[in-house]
Symmetry: C2
Subunit: 199 residues, 2 copies
Amino acid sequence: MPRAGLDPAAVVAAAAALADEVGFAHLTMGLLAERVGVRTPSLYKHVGGQEDLNRRIAALAMSEAADAVGGAVQGYAGRDALAAAARAFRAFVLEHPGRYAATIGVEPADRDDPMAVASRRLLGAFRAVLRGYETPESDVDHALRMLRSLCHGFATLQAADGFQWSADIDESFEWLIAFADRGLRAVAAPEVSSPAPPR
Amino acid sequence: MPRAGLDPAAVVAAAAALADEVGFAHLTMGLLAERVGVRTPSLYKHVGGQEDLNRRIAALAMSEAADAVGGAVQGYAGRDALAAAARAFRAFVLEHPGRYAATIGVEPADRDDPMAVASRRLLGAFRAVLRGYETPESDVDHALRMLRSLCHGFATLQAADGFQWSADIDESFEWLIAFADRGLRAVAAPEVSSPAPPR
DNA sequence: GCTTCTGGCTAACAAGATTAGCCAACGGGG
DNA sequence: CCCCGTTGGCTAATCTTGTTAGCCAGAAGC
């Protein structure tokens, strides 16, 4: 029996690709074994089991997302950077729905968990976007959570086919980018915001 | 052997409650059977299987969310309505993480699917919020998707412990409501938005 | 060439979902 | 009140999937 030449990284990469193809929920050890040309139990020589595999897929996905967003932002600032980051993030989730799904519900064990490291990297990419808006320090954390919620929410809802009604989805996403852009500019310069009614 | 007096609604309600307690991923037919005081195979007299059960839990959750948001909005308009809707939605997800998790990744079969009906009801509640902002008809669909993405994203990220860093989460959510409020007012009256720099 | 470690394999087991088939309990009509 | 059909429970058995145990060949270093 010739060796298959596997290692943990190759197994995880194959698992992530398979998850993108068949959906994270349908990713099974048997299917993965077949894909990499090995019997099921052999996988356990490389990963600790399904739980461990999920965590590794999640870490890979988060790291790739951070690369995608970080790379897309390079050389842009302000609205252009925001648009590039948001589009890159959504594109990543839509191209890799399976591996991104693995990130949902995985809480990192500690700060050195690869998943936690990758999450911080992704966050850093979004933080770079905010620098172009000169967001006040006191608002940065909130704005980051807002951006992450918007992107995560939109992408996962679309990936899950959660938008049933008919308006054009790409158009909605561009509208959303414009909305966030206007809002972030207002945060940086609150004095120009519309005069609030008594309430 | 005395009858347990079950029916599909009771089984689904018990399953939803159990999912909230142990987490949707740990909801098992055996656990559910134990909870309702019956042997596992008996459940199949009331629901078609795990897939069917998940869909029913999702429909229940969506319907309850619609009720919560719809009820919270009553009697408010503008920013108050927006805040009430957003808080009600988030509170629902945090109080019922298990059943809400069931809604992720369930795409309704057709327009009469209970899940689809409930989703439209939830959407209607958010649409009512927009009426208070006099959002132009052409922007309503986009704004609805934005609101849904924001609320869904924030609530699911928090439920999954996805916000690792330290800033206060309630405070972030209130900030987010204020952000959406300012933005929606600007959509209704675009002439007061901050003048964009040339780029 | 020997030895050691690694990565494959088969066999076996455990947990969970599901199906088949039986039988008691409830409910309505004689 | 009794009969009978339907319903909802049960046990037993099957299938899928994850996982562990234990064996053995191939690769790598001496």
